[in-house]
Symmetry: C2
Subunit: 164 residues, 2 copies
């Protein structure tokens, strides 16, 4: 539980690949598929979703492919994961608040929701550019985790809604 889907994983790999391996040039789904041994049909759909979500730009036809539609540092991992897998949900109660008539039970959900938002903000603070750095090198640790409480606790609209 609490794990990333493979599709989201594939998406992040692809985004990172496009950010680092190609200098603004496009890469086809097949290229990425072969480079990381990812099943082509699945990767295709992941890339399609990313394109539909506005993170990637697609070019059809021969020598077509995908490229980042924005600078890598302007694409957060949260955004990527959400466009692929849909909204991130910690407990089911957040969405259907109707069936939740248990007054006492809901006192539990509130602090849990904070945890949830903390995770979202953590993901929102990490961009594809951050991931594109060498994994073993000096990661932007200070950047990732040095968020101010005010930021982390800001109203939910900090986190844009996914269109999925």
């Amino acid at each position: 539980m609490l794990k990333l889907t493979k599709k989201a994983d594939y998406g992040l790999i692809s985004l990172r690949h496009l950010a680092v391996a190609t200098n603004g040039r496009s890469a086809s789904a097949k290229d990425i598929s072969e480079a990381y041994h990812i099943p082509l049909p699945i990767l295709s759909k992941v890339l399609q979703k990313l394109a539909k979500g506005g993170l990637l730009t697609s070019e059809q036809g021969t020598n077509g492919g995908y490229r980042l539609s924005r600078p890598a540092q302007d694409i957060s991992t949260l955004e990527a994961i959400r466009t692929i897998d849909g909204p991130i949900i910690l407990t089911a109660c957040f969405t259907d608040h109707a069936g939740c008539n248990q007054s006492e039970a809901c006192t539990v959900r509130e602090p849990l929701r904070r945890v949830h938002e903390g995770i979202l903000r953590l993901l929102a603070s990490i961009s594809i550019a951050d991931m594109a750095r060498d994994g073993s090198g000096p990661l932007p640790e200070h950047k990732i985790f040095q968020l101010q409480p005010a930021q982390l606790m800001a109203p939910a609209h900090l986190v844009p809604a996914a269109k999925g």
Copy 2:
């Protein structure tokens, strides 16, 4: 995706209940089941796991029940979730590093692993006592999210392994 299991949810509710509703006294699975409208057999197993994991102490027989085996502030949400749902995994690659012979792909996993650990530490920083506070009141926001990067980036043994 990235969502809490219902069982983990039930477990957190129960732990919180035991921390706040009873003053060191025990509550039976039935009590909690009725208070929050949770199916009894399921809740039973959740509580059994928590007892087996050392978070709860069980008393059999008439008027038996469960109680926290430790002060609520010494039980982290991470520990609770792990004993119920087993190890938390972000991508499958963390465990079976054998099948991961794709040199390039693994450069992606490293930063992802940081994200993963950040989430773990976020959960580790929140105790049952924190959740026991009134949800709408002055939550310990500053405590939850004001972790130092050094703490967050400490070697993995900060996070104890679950026995599940």
